[in-house]
Amino acid sequence: MAIRTTTPGNEKADRPEVRPDVRLETAPMVPVSCESCGITVEARKSSWEQTSIQWHGDLDGCLERRAAPPPTIAGTAFRGCTALRNTLSHAVDRGALPVLTESE
């Protein structure tokens, strides 16, 4: 991991350094607010089918999330929010969310 020790032997001095995704250098995530709940996320689409979504903080504001069944043994049962998905499509239509393959 990208831990740099400034004071050798002093674990408390370890500070994680998390590198950003190289793919964001040329095409960053852009903020989008959900039409349904108003939560702001950052999104990125390299194509129509590809989507990255960065949420922030607790997700209680998301209605679908609140209605989602509890996690199963294989992890979260909440794969994603359909209202947010629709919001992203509309953002693409408006030109507010670029689709990278479209700009080639």
Binding site: A2, I3, T5, R19, D21, V22, S46, W55, T76
Partner: protein, 381 residues
């Protein structure tokens, strides 16, 4: 238009953290530790002694006796405590020296490091925390109903020691969509990751590969493979894996877990249980768990081959059809960070759904070519 300087890209390697991840680590099947004798486990850069008392409760201590450094793994279990082979000091599972047979009293500070344990669903876990805090309740390992049910087989368990590699390599698999085709003989058709809190999930669907013999129920046609797999913490993954045949579903739970020996080696383990299909004998069901396990083993062995020869790389160059390697490592970093220093970005929910159009095109072509080549070779004989 941006111009990119035409120079070779350099592989960057950050120093490997000299600490071990905070969280539950599975040490294998608990019954293997319940034979009444002490067991040695090298993990977290040290040596541990693991034993069970008369009630079958399993304890884990640092292996070196705080008296004169004797190796407790060479000792014996006496009255539920571990007795050192050097001068017979008795250490309890709580880490306290209970008795020194030749002394009137046990000195102050006669306490060694003990690891919190969890004995659940047939597996033994230890909680590692460089800060020495008790297990975090929200990070408890979920119960696996099939593991204790008669409708499912027993664990079929595998364990391999991997030298010359840091355990981050196996965790990277969570997002490495393309390697599932090249290394694990799968044909991914759908791929999505979700990271949230201490859980990292991979949703993957796959199809049959005509060029690879995937174990099938005699003659049945494999329609789809559906896998939902999550790491609960830094090292323990539960994979809910369903093979959908035209004759019905074949359900299995695959465990993929590891513990670090030191920063440059780890023990990889995986275990499998399958739901006994209706009207099939227990032996037949156990045999299918083994067949499936052995198939998965081949894939892991190919992973190992890759890991042992690859470079550690902290600045991987990614194409758009790769998964979220950087975001996964950002998630993974939380386990190497003091609790007070964990950043929101390490635990905030992140979703990444891949576009499988190009991979599907390229790989169906490749599979068709492989089949044509195989048929041609068969025809020539």
């Amino acid at each position: 238009m941006t111009t990119v300087p035409d120079v070779p890209r350099r592989i960057e390697t950050d120093p490997v953290a000299e600490r071990y991840a905070r969280g539950w680590h599975c040490l294998g099947l608990s019954d293997d530790y319940r034979d009444g004798s002490p067991h040695q486990v090298t993990a977290f850069g040290t040596k541990l002694v693991v034993w069970a008392d008369a009630d079958g409760e399993i304890h884990v201590l640092d292996a070196y006796c705080r008296h004169m450094g004797g190796d407790l793994t060479q000792g014996t279990v006496k009255d539920g405590n571990i007795a050192c082979p050097f001068h017979d000091w008795r250490w309890g599972g709580d880490g306290r020296c209970k008795q020194i047979p030749y002394s009137r009293r046990v000195p102050l500070r006669a306490r060694t490091s003990s690891w919190p344990t969890l004995d659940q669903d047939g597996m033994l876990f230890v909680w590692n925390d460089p800060e020495g805090n008790p297990p975090i309740e929200e990070q408890a390992i979920p119960r696996i109903p099939g593991a204790t049910s008669d409708e499912w087989t027993d664990w079929h368990w595998y364990s391999i020691r991997i030298d010359g590699s840091n355990c981050r390599e196996i965790v990277d698999n969570v997002v490495d969509m393309a390697h599932f085709f090249y290394v694990h003989y799968s044909m991914p058709t759908y791929f999505k990751n979700v990271f949230e809190g201490h859980v990292a999930t991979q949703y993957m669907n796959g199809a049959e590969r005509a060029d690879v013999a995937i174990p099938s129920e005699d003659g049945a046609e494999l329609l789809e493979i559906r896998s939902t797999a999550s790491y609960f913490g830094p090292s323990f993954m539960i994979d809910d894996l369903v093979y959908e045949f035209d004759t019905g579903d074949f359900e299995s739970i695959l465990i993929n877990c590891h513990y670090p020996i030191d920063t440059n080696s780890f023990v990889l383990q995986y275990g499998i249980i399958v739901k006994k299909p209706q009207g099939v004998s227990d032996e037949h069901a156990a045999a299918s768990a083994k067949t499936m396990g052995d198939f998965i083993k081949t894939g892991f062995e190919q992973d190992v081959e890759i890991w042992q020869n690859k470079a550690r790389i902290d600045n991987p160059l990614l194409c758009e059809e790769d998964g979220p390697v950087y975001q996964l490592r950002r998630w993974y970093q939380q386990f190497y960070t003091d609790v007070a220093d964990v950043q929101a970005e390490m635990t905030d929910r992140f979703e990444f759904e891949l576009d499988m159009t190009r991979p599907a095109e390229a790989w169906s072509r490749e599979v068709a070519d492989n089949v044509a080549r195989r048929d041609e070779a068969a025809g020539a004989h």
